[in-house]
């Protein structure tokens, strides 16, 4: 089976005043059609810049692709011209982000913004742009699809009149106005309260299932990922360290960083489990540690971990980038 999204050996750096920051260091990641994959990692691990790379939203410069390729449905994203990119963004890949207010223009009504997007998608698909009246009907329909009540009235309202949860629903609606096959959701519920988070996650899960979309869900919260994804990719300092079935990852983490991350999360259902910190700090990507980027914080590090970067390899039915994966008790 060919993957819908295929990222291989993707290396991205940012050139700045202080030098070159090696932000993504050889990412290998495939997502099949209809699959739900979660990417989890802490601040600075590169998960958001990876998400933005999929639709080439990373400016170059200051970004610079050092190696690798990104293919979507067999097409080379890094080689696309502006027309092909416009079609990709919306008809291939749709994105939703953390803070819905940032992505809605405060001075235009919800309807006006949705209609603009719908007509832009028409143009990107090489069709005639439908008239605004027809686009308005489509906008109302998609607001209904995200379970917003009274979509017709909502079209005439402005972003500030909506709650955070409603705004995120509007952005999900906007993401569905094209004909996406992959939904990339970057911390979609981080700005929302827990009861609203549950509503929005449920909606995303239902829409993905109804429409047969693939989902790439990016979050720092293992609970959010665990709610929607069957497969989890763990990132650390610009590298994929583990890529496993969700149940296997939570039960038997094989990478020392995954183990540390799981031990650091307090669990409401297990009050006797004391959250344990991971010693040390995330590395400075201007001068990342040699070999395995996790070795300065790793309790199992040996000389080889400093000398040689571990490749992602098959261990115990998953992919792990650790020289000592076999030594980690299952």
């Amino acid at each position: 089976m060919t993957a819908l999204l295929d990222i291989s050996d993707y290396r991205l750096a940012f050139d700045g005043f202080e030098g070159r920051a090696h932000v993504l260091d050889g990412i290998d990641l495939r997502v099949a059609a209809g699959e739900s994959v979660g990417i989890v990692g802490e601040t600075g691990c590169g998960k958001s810049v990876l998400a933005r790379s999929i639709t080439r939203l990373v400016d170059t410069p200051p970004g610079r692709v050092l190696s690798g390729h990104i293919r979507f449905a067999g097409e080379d994203v890094l080689a696309m011209d502006q027309r092909a990119l416009a079609r990709l963004r919306g008809h291939g890949v749709a994105m939703i982000f953390q803070d819905p207010m940032t992505y809605l223009n405060p001075v235009f009504s919800i309807g006006s913004q949705l209609i603009d997007v719908i007509r832009a998608h028409d143009r990107a698909a090489g069709q005639r742009m439908r008239p605004r009246v027809a686009a308005r009907a489509a906008a109302a329909e998609v607001l209904g699809a995200v379970r917003l009540p009274e979509p017709d009235r909502l079209l005439d309202r402005y972003p500030h009149e909506l709650s955070g949860g409603m705004r995120q629903r509007v952005l999900i609606a906007m993401a569905l106005t094209g004909t996406p096959r992959l939904l990339v959701a970057d911390e979609p519920t981080t700005a929302l309260d827990v009861t609203i988070q549950a509503q929005v996650l449920r909606l995303i899960g239902e829409l993905v299932a109804e429409r047969g979309l693939a989902l790439l869900l990016i979050s720092h919260d293992l609970g959010v990922i665990g709610a929607l994804c069957r497969r989890i990719v763990v990132m650390y300092a610009g590298t994929v360290v583990e890529d496993a079935d969700a149940a296997a990852l939570f039960d038997r983490p094989r990478h020392p960083y995954t183990r540390g991350l799981l031990a650091a999360v307090p669990d409401l259902a297990r009050p006797d489990h004391r959250a344990r910190p991971i010693p040390g700090h995330i590395p400075n990507l201007l001068a990342p540690p040699p070999g395995c980027r996790f070795h300065p914080r790793c309790p199992l590090a040996v000389a080889r971990c400093i000398a040689e970067k571990p490749a992602l390899r098959e261990v115990d039915g998953r992919r792990v980038a650790c020289h000592r994966a076999e030594d980690i008790a299952a």
């Binding site: 709610a227 999360v265 669990d267």
Partner: protein, 315 residues
């Protein structure tokens, strides 16, 4: 039981709007915090938990009610009368990146309360600040660093050192780990627990993260739309919650494991604090609403474990 360190009675904070409407940010809160105890204040955004902390520390004056600190009502005290009391109550904010002046060294930030309150002389300050940094687990080499040279966890430690400078009796922590990564959050939580067992400080611990609250608090008060709807010992709140809102909050927590979606999340949004529903303020979203709930406002009932719910009081 010892006398409470802090007691809030019928505490309210109302903000008038144009056109005669009033935002009832805090609308009748009764809780007590004993010396050395850690009280968690949980609830969704806009429920008034941060406003309660600011009122309790008298950073803002209340519209009604009493704030008893060590038995003395401080709700009407002037700024100058409050000044000596400020030593005893300190606040830690959510975002350590915004709580430190980027142009001042760690030493200057931590020394400031000592200088303002005139506690330590010129010679004593340096030794005292060094001692405070060691207490929060930072070496002396950090004294002359600037905030941009520190990680998020280190900055939060500096903020805690500054708050500890005057040896307070009460520390209000407003989402102290929400801006931090989980691996760093665990460090700060571990440190806060160790600090409390060592120093006997009382915490007013505000968080939206129930798992964190369960780990660091002795008692929990659950707030909804400006009111405490349930309050009690941490184990009772999490194992036998009485208020339907508390149950919904617990059910909405996503555990760190492949659990699938939580069952039937609470419908709708939190209402506007300027338009609080009649009767029980939770009634419009409540899954077990009865006729009475839309007419009569339930008070917190019970002794050690209290809930403001007609259904809970009948059960």
């Amino acid at each position: 039981m010892s006398a409470p360190l802090l007691e809030l009675r019928g505490l309210a904070k109302h903000y008038p709007l144009k056109g005669g409407r009033v935002v009832r940010a805090v609308d009748g809160v009764d809780v007590a915090l004993h010396p050395g105890e850690s009280l968690g204040l949980v609830g969704e955004s806009g429920c008034g938990k941060s406003t309660v902390a600011r009122l309790a520390l008298r950073l803002i004056p209340p519209s009604a009610g009493a704030i008893l600190f060590q038995g003395r009502d401080i709700s009407g005290l002037s700024d100058s009368a409050l000044r000596p009391l400020r030593r005893d109550m300190q606040l830690i904010f959510q975002n350590p990146h915004a709580a430190l002046n980027p142009r001042r060294t760690v030493f200057a930030s931590v020394a400031e309360p000592l200088v303002v309150q005139g506690v330590a002389g010129r010679d004593g300050v340096l030794a005292r600040v060094g001692d405070l940094l060691r207490q929060v687990g930072l070496p002396d080499s950090f004294l002359w660093r600037y905030p941009h040279e520190l990680s998020g966890g280190q900055k939060q430690r500096v903020c805690i050192a500054r708050a500890l400078a005057l040896e307070p009796k009460l520390l209000a922590l407003d989402e102290p780990t929400s801006a931090l990564d989980v691996s760093v959050q665990a460090q700060i939580l571990e440190f806060l627990q160790e600090l409390r067992s060592r120093s006997g400080l009382a915490y007013l611990f505000i968080s939206h993260n129930l798992a964190v609250v369960r780990q660091v608090c002795d008692r929990v008060a659950v707030m909804y739309l400006g009111r405490v709807v349930e309050e009690g010992p941490v184990e009772a709140i999490f194992t036998a919650p009485r208020h339907p809102y508390t149950r919904a909050l617990i059910a909405a927590v996503l555990p760190p494991r492949p659990a699938g979606m939580p069952e039937a999340p609470l419908a709708g949004d939190v209402p506007n604090a300027a338009e609080i529903p009649p009767g029980c303020r939770f009634a419009p979203r409540c899954p077990i609403r009865m006729d009475r709930c839309t007419r009569d406002d339930p008070a917190l009932a019970g002794t050690d474990h209290r809930a403001a719910c007609w259904a809970a009081s009948e059960a």
